[in-house]
Symmetry: D2
Subunit: 360 residues, 4 copies
């Protein structure tokens, strides 16, 4: 069950990086929603590597096919199976690594857990597993947009030590984010980020960074008290993405240095429907439940573990070795992580929105 996410809007992903296919099955999507592959493909294409000189050159087509749950362009309320065939299967690139666990990768822990080594490509721990998430997330987004008016936009807010200062731009949109190859909506910052990535690449090294996500058009009342708080579900969702090491919501770690009188968000009247807050240090969530303000959170990605430079480590028998990656590697996962963060946010919000509808 560890490959399933959600309680009412439930997604199960499947697929190894070098098996026949990857994909997802969504159980619990409401009926009557307009849906076709065209709603899903753009996010898969955004997730694809090889889209710019900055990211991994492995070429993948990643065409999604809806196998079930949709008839005549409308969802039936039945499970929606989404499939992306794997086209490039080159296990040879990875074969050499088998006697040496790659440092800070999943090789060692998977072997300890399962007692079998995945033959190739890291199996389920590969970034390719995120295809199922992105496909399912696009369906969740469609539902949220059509039925609740919710918009989700993520962007790269830091690469190594280069950080986007200040608030996200008011006209934040995916188009604006995609205007630069690093997916940072500020062109100047994006350029400095690009330099950091190129420099690491030239050294056979990698960089990490931060993805910020903003969700607008949220109704107050989403999130379930105690263990399924909106904060808790975002925490689980984001820290299930490969290479993540942290999440902060609203003021986050910086907010721990404030006093309560500075940090509290005073309420203000909004025309007609409920209250708003003058500031949003809460990041749109109070007591674990959405308050109607934009939900804002930041996700920390460590530098990619697979690097071109040689590493001094030991093999499974404990013998010291020098390890160098054979295949080409991705010096910065951040731009490709943007649609994955958006997808996981959509899976969280779709589930909690439907759970809220289950009252009474």
């Amino acid at each position: 069950m560890s490959s399933t996410f959600g309680t009412v809007f439930r997604t199960t992903t499947f697929g190894e990086s070098h098996g026949l296919a990857v994909g997802a099955v969504i159980d619990g999507c409401p009926p009557g929603l307009a849906l076709s592959e065209a709603d899903i493909q753009p996010q898969l294409t955004r997730r694809r590597p090889g889209q710019s000189a900055l990211t991994t050159p492995r070429d993948e087509q990643d065409r999604v096919r809806i196998l079930s749950g949709v008839e005549a362009g409308m969802t039936l309320g039945t499970p929606i199976a989404l499939e992306v065939m794997n086209e490039a299967q080159r296990p040879g690139d990875y074969r050499e690594l088998q006697s040496v666990p790659r440092p800070s990768h999943a090789d060692y822990t998977y072997r300890m857990k399962y007692g079998v080594a995945a033959r190739s490509g890291g199996g389920r721990a590969s970034a390719r597993e995120t295809i199922g998430r992105v496909a399912a997330g696009a369906v969740a987004e469609k539902m949220l947009r059509d039925r609740r008016g919710t918009e989700i936009v993520a962007f790269v807010s830091a690469v190594a030590d280069v950080e986007l200062e200040g608030e996200p731009p008011a006209d934040l949109s995916r188009d604006r984010v995609d205007a630069t190859p690093v997916r940072c909506p500020d062109a100047g910052t994006a350029e400095r980020m690009r330099e950091r990535i190129e420099a690491a690449k030239a050294d056979g090294d990698s960089v990490g960074g931060i993805v910020t996500c903003v969700c607008r058009g949220i109704q107050a009342g989403w999130g379930e008290p105690i263990f399924d708080k909106l904060t808790a579900m975002l925490g689980r969702a984001m820290l299930s993405i490969p290479a993540t090491k942290g999440i902060e919501i609203g003021s986050g770690f910086a907010g721990t240095r404030m006093r309560g009188s500075e940090h509290n968000d005073p309420f203000v009247a909004r025309g007609g429907c409920g209250l708003g807050t003058a500031t949003n240090r809460s990041g749109g969530i109070q007591g674990g439940i959405s308050n109607g303000e934009p939900i804002v959170f930041r996700v920390a990605f460590k530098p990619t573990a697979t690097i071109g430079r040689a590493q001094h480590t030991v093999d499974y028998e404990g013998n010291e070795v020098e390890l160098a990656a054979r295949g080409r590697h991705d010096p910065c996962i951040l731009p490709r992580a943007v649609p994955v963060v958006e997808a996981m946010a959509a899976l969280v919000l779709a589930d909690l929105a439907l759970r809220q509808a289950a009252r009474g």
Copy 2:
């Protein structure tokens, strides 16, 4: 189901701050484990307010009673119901707040969610809800200690801008943590933290901070791939604690500034059983699965929302008001949050340890 945590070792908490009782039911604790109230009470007592001049003066006895699942001092493998009666019921203190939602508190969002206002004391959003977690966490800890050799110790590593520098002490223990009222294992830092808390208290204000948690005696292989990764489950668990705004594991946000070659933890031989790592920037978790090194993570707590100082805000109708808390308030939740963080870590680890045992 939002009050249930875990898949195999499952905990359901119940209770409002001013109802008859709070508590928890654990379903899935293995049979044959030695268990009595004496295993649980110490953590409840550590959680209690009023233990020092630094924390809230509300006096609570918080005596736990095991209602079921234990016979002759041994668990039966059946549900363990744990009950703590509420003794101090003084809803009057909170009654005035009802027409005005407290800023950055759960009042507004709960009302938007449920359409009813909890009469008193914040209902389930009260810190008192954590009693059920702490009681259940103590049972999980007992199982982990007796059956797996696991030890969990949390401490306050930052209060406002005062931060404990460097690595946690090698002889970290609960006794050492409890040696100072702020529960910081470095006496000098603890003293400076105390000053920050006293200063805030004098101003009718509050401070936030960071709790760090270290889990030792972990076997490699705990954590389920994809959505139930150890990172993901810690994320959900910690961000379900009231007032939390972030979590980082291992190198966390600071690690995003490193290059892969600096950040990767090289493997080293360990005598006999598996490999270790020379450094622990992974925080004991790789690919979402424990690698046997200590699990280390940090949790951000915002400053307490309830403050004594007057706040400018609006009531539910949108009219501007000055709001001042009537009851005495807790200027710093951090010392009391320590056993809560430990409890949630125990609930995560107990569940994943048992899930790992379900293989094959």
Copy 3:
């Protein structure tokens, strides 16, 4: 998690027959429902043994207490904890049985499963465990009655070879059912059932029988396709009750002898709201989903395993022994099973009604 039932309206029961208390925690009951102990106690009292000469003489008070989730007579939407203290703790009666597993009882299988023998009273396998179900079921019934107009009435339709012929009476009600001590709504049949029970009792023996349950005021559309069909959930619920060996819905096993043309229920027009069926061989469920007609099903209970007569069997070591029960025994569980069947039906319907509300 095996003590939890339901997906949205979730019940977890706890308690051994001779521990401190038995009870249940309900997570997912909607807020704003009028609820007090008075809504729950009548069903617990109906479940109590010792209410007539026909049933077990063990005297229990079984007073329920609501510990949480209700404030000022209204549900809060938070977990509702229900507790019934155990008053009669006489483990001595059962102590002798420990070296010999009682035939067709749970002694042997529990020992094989857990590796520990419950000291007294059969632990969780005792009929006393059903108190938690009946208490929670009464809450579910309250919600169904107030919010959906649903009524649930069960009755004893067979004891040994005495069977109630024909359709249940049109004016079926709990009062009518309770008019006879065996809880059969036909006085003549009830009298013959009573004779069977008395005869078995005189022989130190026991009898089985059938409980029929009728649920009226059902909306069309309850039940989730595939594995959570209304039939499937009733099957799970009823076959989780101790001593049950079968369930049939609508025409059941007798219907397997009909042809399709005889068995199909033709649709008929109903004034205004949807269609009805001219006959109800479907038992109110088609394709696993309610069609709005009354839900009718029958549950088979084997004769009570604990009997007064000596039984030839073997002890745990395989030595042949004569086993005789020491305590007084209940020759017929059927009348007391009536409120348990009603409770489980209520838990199924409340959950599926709320799940249906979670669409869209």
Copy 4:
């Protein structure tokens, strides 16, 4: 989540009868199990219609493909996605039925539930949905056979009023069951069953019947107390199969007429490992937990709702109509139901066997 079955060994099915594909994803199958399509295909082929003159002539290839979770002939412990493409898509046959709900079919209830009518072939309510179950069940069976020594064999024990008397043959096997087209292991009874089916077919009518299932090689201790008893899980599993109206375990409904002294199964010594029972009226399950004896249960199937004969009913607007099926219909689902019952039994046992392994 209604398309998911199991807690540790979890199966999610997907697919409409006339969409692109049907299939299943299994999450929780242990790693290191030898598995290929050849382990799955035989049961799918047994499930196929058109295998004899007795069953529906619609020709389907039903070739299964493993998309993930298996590498080099061994399971990885990751989700196993199983896909069967739909080849015959002839929605025209069913189009006429759309304004008239077929009596005792799922048309009406699905429309009431979802507010949309499945365009063709009954959508998820079609028998074709069982392909995913049979494929997943074959994987569960493989695990049970290889790791636990469990064998599952089902057969047709009644068609209309023709019933197989006495105990199942001692040499019961799938080969023996498949020796007759009706899948009844007694040739004489099988012939009389065939006559009933042919007679119904000649009349454009249908017949129902009973499938009996025997599971051997069961360890004592499978089944979780209270709501996940082995009886309860079998109840849910079997009553989730289309057209089922009842299940009885061991002595079932007939056992309700016995006295306790007759019904109880005395224990007997077995060489070395635990006890057995002299009789098996318990059907291998006591207190909801397996006792090591064969598990035996019977499932009631109503006569197929779709018949060739005209039926007097009403359309969705309430107008009286004569309804006749256009496509050819299957007069008796029983032989094809045999592998479905086996599959569901395997899914129950695999899950409970793994849950038992999670103790300690």
